[in-house]
């Protein structure tokens, strides 16, 4: 039997490498094209998943929620590709967007009336600080020539 750590490591490696593929892809094609090709990559796996399970027994409401979740996931994919396309470093954009559970916790607090634990409050505070620090990018300095030109 394969140890669960092997599966977890498999996920870490594939998701980690994926961050690099995202940047290499957006260096070559547009964010919208990336969304289409990434979706095609997901579709490739669909028959294998369908061999092990079906959607029978699920209520229409749950199917609807799952489909909407997929759609917003697709929009999130577009946003991260657009972010990389507009010059974000992969080493900044990937850790920054991985902070999305912050938004999930906020939504669960607002709509499911869940109360964050003390530890989760610490996680939220760290996420806010991390977001601010990761997005710190000093402004390019104006060259002396341009400054002189502006004065004139």
């Amino acid at each position: 039997m394969i140890h669960w750590m092997v599966y977890a490591s498999f996920a870490i490696v594939l998701w980690g490498v994926n961050g690099l593929f995202m940047k290499l892809g957006t260096n070559r094609i547009s964010a919208r094209s990336m969304v289409i090709w990434v979706t095609a990559g997901f579709v490739v796996l669909l028959p294998f998943m369908w061999m092990t399970t079906t959607l029978s027994g699920l209520s229409a409401a749950i199917i609807f929620v799952g489909l909407i979740a997929g759609a917003v996931n697709g929009l999130g994919n577009w946003a991260v590709f657009a972010c990389l396309e507009r010059g974000a470093k992969a080493s900044v954009a990937i850790p920054l967007t991985a902070l999305y559970p912050l938004c999930t916790v906020a939504l669960a607090t607002a709509f499911l009336k869940e109360r964050p634990t003390a530890l989760q409050w610490l996680g939220i505070a760290l996420a806010v600080a991390a977001g601010a620090m990761l997005s710190y990018e000093p402004a390019p300095a104006t060259s002396p020539e341009v400054q002189v030109h502006c004065v004139q």
Binding site: A11, I36, L46, G66, I68, A98, A108, Y136, P138, A141
Partner: protein, 143 residues
């Protein structure tokens, strides 16, 4: 040459938008997973992504980029994410989510290392500190 003056880069708007969309995805997944198995949810996610991809294709008037390298990386992104998710679900079958989720949440470290080696990206000291805080936060929020 750079100054210490901070500015709001354009890409940051998209990163925040991504956090919102993926955060909403996490919220809806939480609701859906009460009745559906992770694999069933993954099938629904894939089907739900199709209209978005179709919308993008229509917006581009069918002029899809066909750069061979870009297409390969795009397809690899989809397959790698999907397979990684299946690996994550397989780990969940044998271990608690409170152990597996924080552990797999450290995947950005690998991206940062690969970006350092392959893309020669360099983080400034503030961003480096931010990455460490982000990792701690991801682990804590995943518990």
């Amino acid at each position: 040459m750079q100054t210490d003056r901070w500015h709001f880069p354009v890409w940051l708007w998209y990163a925040l938008l991504c956090i919102f969309w993926w955060g909403l995805w996490g919220f809806l997944s939480k609701i859906g997973s009460a009745a559906a198995s992770p694999l069933q949810m993954q099938i629904l996610f894939t089907l739900g992504m199709l209209p978005v991809a179709l919308g993008m294709l229509l917006q581009m008037r069918g002029r899809l980029d066909r750069n061979r390298g870009g297409v390969t990386y795009g397809l690899l992104c989809g397959v790698a994410t999907g397979l990684g998710t299946l690996g994550y679900y397989a780990a969940l079958q044998e271990q608690n989510a409170s152990v597996v989720t924080p552990l797999t949440g450290v995947f950005p470290v690998l991206t940062v290392v690969l970006a350092f080696v392959v893309l020669r990206e360099r983080l400034n000291k503030v961003q480096m500190g931010g990455m460490l805080l982000a990792l701690a936060s991801i682990v804590i929020l995943s518990i």
